[in-house]
């Protein structure tokens, strides 16, 4: 093993060390640079280095929040399950965004038939209402009512048409024929197509004076509005100007999901003018004006229309809600336990193995630094089990050192000089360290690949730990030992932990 005292190896270690110091210290550096207090929650965090965010991603059991696992049922025919799952994720993401959660995690799972949702700082109740909400999409026409003064069309109030989200088979954002602007394509089911054809025909007939080529020229009766959850009760209140104006604002799913009977929520999706009778069941909503919709606006509208009806039914498999105090408490306890365990291990190593033990403890610090940095960069979402996995991997890092040091003692007793004994010990302990760690790596890979979901994150933290422990125990400890041995001062066996076994 040409690992000792060779410059490429040392540079690698120094590089890793600097990298870890940077990543681990990034938070503090950022706080100092921006004059934030060094501890506690501060607005403006996590630290951001040119778009690169470095911080521990805490799992819900540490941060507090809600985890829900959904089973998708009632898949629509004619679409692949993967597509439907993706579409459902988009809808859920859209709905969840309205909650203002930082970093919501919405993932596909299972055999394209599961979705897990992780939301920090949201109660299960809120989350389920927003995600599982069955918003009813309705179309209205406008009818004259002189008492109406507010809302989207002054002097007119909406009238339900019987055309609902159930009649829409898809809504997608596409680039229009000119290739510049974005439009939303709506496809109706056959029942919807009939109804929509009749509505648009009536619409155009209602304002015969309008030239159908001009968007600017329109009358209220020629508009079709799309709403979420607009109820007859809302329409009855339309003469209240404030009420009508509020409801006519762009829809808000979070408000709708958590609404009590007295809340007034914005409900309008779009209020579009009908240019001509549309009979085939294919409608296009354009943005109006010359530019049309932006891509974002078109996609938002399309998602809004489809979000009215999830493509599948969501069945709740499991819900976990962790209070933020419990999370903080768990963090404190596990960090305390980890630190306690680590200090016992370090103390033991120093007392039992003296100089090599102290060097191994230094290597252990290096190890911890590298692992934390990797957790931040990958990023690994830390859970309670993950932290325990890390603490356990410390045991493995120590194990490689113990193997080497025990071997070292034997070699010294066998009459080797101390520097020769260091080399022989590392060389002879290597196969055991290598074989045992490789078997652990394989086990971790199997768990991360095919293991139960609950185990996967844990396996990844353990895997990172095993790699770092190989580097720290073999390369770092060995190099430190070699450097110290070169000094000559520490060559006395008593400092190497060998004295107590002097033979009688």
């Amino acid at each position: 093993m040409q690992l000792v005292l060779s410059w490429p190896v040392r540079l690698l270690i120094i590089g890793l060390l600097l990298f870890s110091l940077f990543v681990d210290g990034a938070g503090y550096w950022y706080r100092i640079a921006n004059h934030y207090p060094l501890t506690g929650n501060v607005a403006g965090l996590p630290p951001n280095f040119g778009g690169w965010q470095l911080y521990f991603h805490k799992g819900l059991d540490l941060a507090g929040g809600t985890h829900i696992e959904y089973q998708l049922t009632n898949f629509p025919a004619g679409q692949t399950r993967a597509d439907v799952q993706q579409k459902t994720i988009t809808v859920i993401a859209k709905r969840v965004n309205s909650l203002g959660v930082s970093e919501p995690e919405i993932r596909g799972a299972g055999n394209n038939d599961r979705i897990t949702v992780d939301l920090a700082g949201v109660t299960a109740d809120q989350a389920q209402k927003v995600i599982g909400a069955v918003n009813r999409l309705v179309y209205t026409t406008w009818v004259k009512d002189d008492k109406v003064t507010g809302g989207a069309q002054a002097g007119y109030k909406p009238q339900l048409t019987g055309l609902t989200g159930d009649d829409i088979s898809s809504a997608t954002a596409v680039i229009d024929q000119s290739g510049i602007g974005w439009v939303v394509n709506i496809q109706f089911s056959s029942h919807g197509a009939d109804l929509f054809g009749k509505l648009t025909t009536d619409n155009v007939a209602a304002c015969p004076g309008d030239p159908n080529t001009s968007i600017a020229a329109n009358c209220a009766q020629r508009h079709l509005a799309i709403w979420l959850d607009l109820s007859p009760n809302d329409i009855a209140n339309w003469e209240d100007t404030a009420y009508a104006s509020k409801v006519s604002l762009n829809y808000d799913t979070a408000c709708l999901a958590t609404a009590t009977p007295t809340t007034i929520c914005p409900k309008m999706l779009v209020d579009a003018v009908t240019l001509q009778p549309i009979l085939g069941g294919n409608a296009v909503i354009t943005g109006g004006g010359s530019g049309g919709f932006t891509q974002q606006a078109a996609q938002d509208l399309a998602t809004g229309i489809t979000a009215g009806s999830l493509p599948v039914d969501l069945q709740v498999l499991s819900v976990q809600q962790v209070g933020s105090t419990l999370g903080a408490q768990s963090v404190k306890l596990s960090i305390a336990a980890g630190l306690l365990g680590l200090s016992i291990v370090v103390l033991f190593m120093i007392i039992y193995y003296r100089v090599p033990g102290s060097l191994a403890s230094l290597a252990l610090l290096f190890y911890a630094g590298v692992v934390f940095a990797t957790f931040k960069v990958v990023p690994v979402t830390l859970t309670l089990a993950g932290i325990t996995g890390f603490i356990l991997s410390v045991g493995m890092a120590v194990d490689a050192n113990v193997l080497i040091f025990e071997r070292f003692k034997e070699e010294v007793r066998a009459g080797r000089t101390i520097p020769a004994a260091v080399d022989a010990a590392v060389r002879r302990a290597w196969p055991a360290i290598w074989n045992s760690n490789v078997s652990t790596i394989f086990t971790c890979l199997i768990l991360a690949g095919v293991g139960p979901n609950a185990v996967k994150g844990f396996a990844i933290t353990l895997l990172i730990g095993v790699f770092a422990s190989l580097i720290s125990s073999i390369i770092v400890t060995h190099n430190l030992l070699a450097i110290v041995m070169a000094g000559g001062r520490f060559r006395r066996p008593s400092l190497m932990g060998v004295d107590r076994v002097r033979s009688t």
Binding site: D61, A124, Q128, Q315, L317, S318, V319, Q320, Q321, V322, G323, T325, Q329, S330, L333, S334, A336, A337, G338, L340, L342, I344, V345, F348, Y352, L384, A385, T388, I391, L392, V394, G395, V398, D399, V402, E406, E410, R413, A414, G415, A424, P431, A432, N435, S436, V438, S439, T440, F442, T443, I446, L447, V450, G451, P452, N453, A454, V455, L462, T504
Partner: protein, 347 residues
């Protein structure tokens, strides 16, 4: 392992012969006597030689003494299932008013949701009910406030029954796959000992047996704790599955260290019997095995004592598994190798 100044001069670096030539002291038979031998390593008048291989049947019997009752409980009454396997709704709450358990139980019973109440001390309770819909859950929470008092809702867990089966199926599949891979890896690594691939397979197979020993011992102990003694810490949940799978990794880790020493000693000492080589190799790795397990055990005990409630069962499972892994690598895996070698001689 230890030698006099004179013997050092003619040493070949393995110390195998010297150790063998020392008169064997009274063999220590019990597991209890093995652990203090760390102290014996520190300042011994002489090296104690422990006959691991010769007394193997005692050690096998000791393992079976735990595993057979464990399997009996597993087969007879199964496991005590945690909420994520049993299904249902679990509320972890804390009442600042510190009501009595009877008070909380009365409130829960009036809900007709099949609730059970577990006290966690200091006004903390875990309440388990049948699966509740969000609306029912809301109602339950409101009723609890009205009947017992205001509380802090620390955790709500709601699980349908379907996940458990899948988790267990995937876990079994992972153990199966890991077992095959480990058998293959060890057979490959140990093919260069005298005896070739067949010898390698004996090493791999013995390691596998030790691994299965640990898995059955751990699950067996938890079956006894859960359904035999009806303790909450013996509940099986997804963290327990994680612990079992971790123990699989650690168990092999320990066994490999012993086997590696056997491989090395087989190479350098031709005049000793296989049995003697195995026994010496166990002796030589004993200190390392005990120190390593000891450090991990220290950390786990720290978690067990001071860690949060959720981690206690996990830490206990890992603790049992790690101790079992060390025991099985010393007392089962290596002696088993000797038994196998006798039944199927290679040279």
């Amino acid at each position: 392992m230890l030698r006099t100044e004179t013997s050092e001069a003619e040493d070949d670096g393995t110390g195998v012969e010297e150790l063998e030539e020392q008169p064997a002291e009274e063999p220590t038979t019990q597991l209890k006597a093995v652990v203090p031998s760390v102290e014996a390593q520190l300042a011994p008048p002489r090296v104690r030689k422990i006959d691991f291989v010769g007394r193997r049947n005692w050690y096998f019997a000791f393992s079976l003494l735990i595993i057979i009752p464990g399997i009996f409980f597993m087969a007879h009454s199964g496991f005590k299932l945690g909420i994520d396997f049993a299904g249902g709704t679990e509320f972890t709450v804390n009442f600042p008013s510190q009501p009595s358990q009877a008070q909380v139980e009365a409130a829960v019973a009036s809900e007709n949701a099949g609730g059970t109440v577990i006290s966690t001390g200091g006004g903390g309770y875990i309440i388990r009910t049948l699966p509740l819909t969000p609306a029912l859950q809301k109602g339950f929470e409101t009723d609890l406030t009205n009947k017992v008092g205001p509380y802090e809702l620390q955790q709500v867990l709601e699980v349908g029954g379907t996940i458990a089966g899948e988790t267990i199926r995937l876990a079994l599949f992972s153990v199966f796959l890991a077992a095959i891979v480990i058998l293959g890896l060890l057979t490959f690594w140990f093919r260069n000992v005298p005896g070739g691939w067949r010898a390698g397979f004996q090493f791999g197979g013995s390691a596998l047996a030790a691994l299965l020993h640990d898995v059955f011992l751990l699950t067996g102990v938890f079956a006894i704790l859960g359904t035999g003694l009806n303790l909450r810490i013996g509940e099986i949940n997804s963290l327990f599955v994680t612990a079992v799978l971790t123990v699989v990794g650690f168990s092999v880790h320990d066994t490999i260290v012993v086997f590696d020493r056997i491989r090395e000693n087989l190479r350098v000492s031709q005049r000793l019997s296989f049995e003697q080589v195995v026994n010496i190799s166990i002796m030589q790795t004993l200190v390392r095995s005990i120190i390593t397990s000891f450090t991990v055990v220290l950390v786990l005990v720290a978690i067990l004592v001071s860690g949060g409630d959720t981690l206690k069962g996990f830490a206990l499972a890992l603790l049992i598994g790690i101790v079992s892994g060390t025991y099985s690598s010393i007392f089962n895996a290596a002696p088993l190798l000797v038994v196998w070698r006798r039944l199927q001689p290679l040279r």
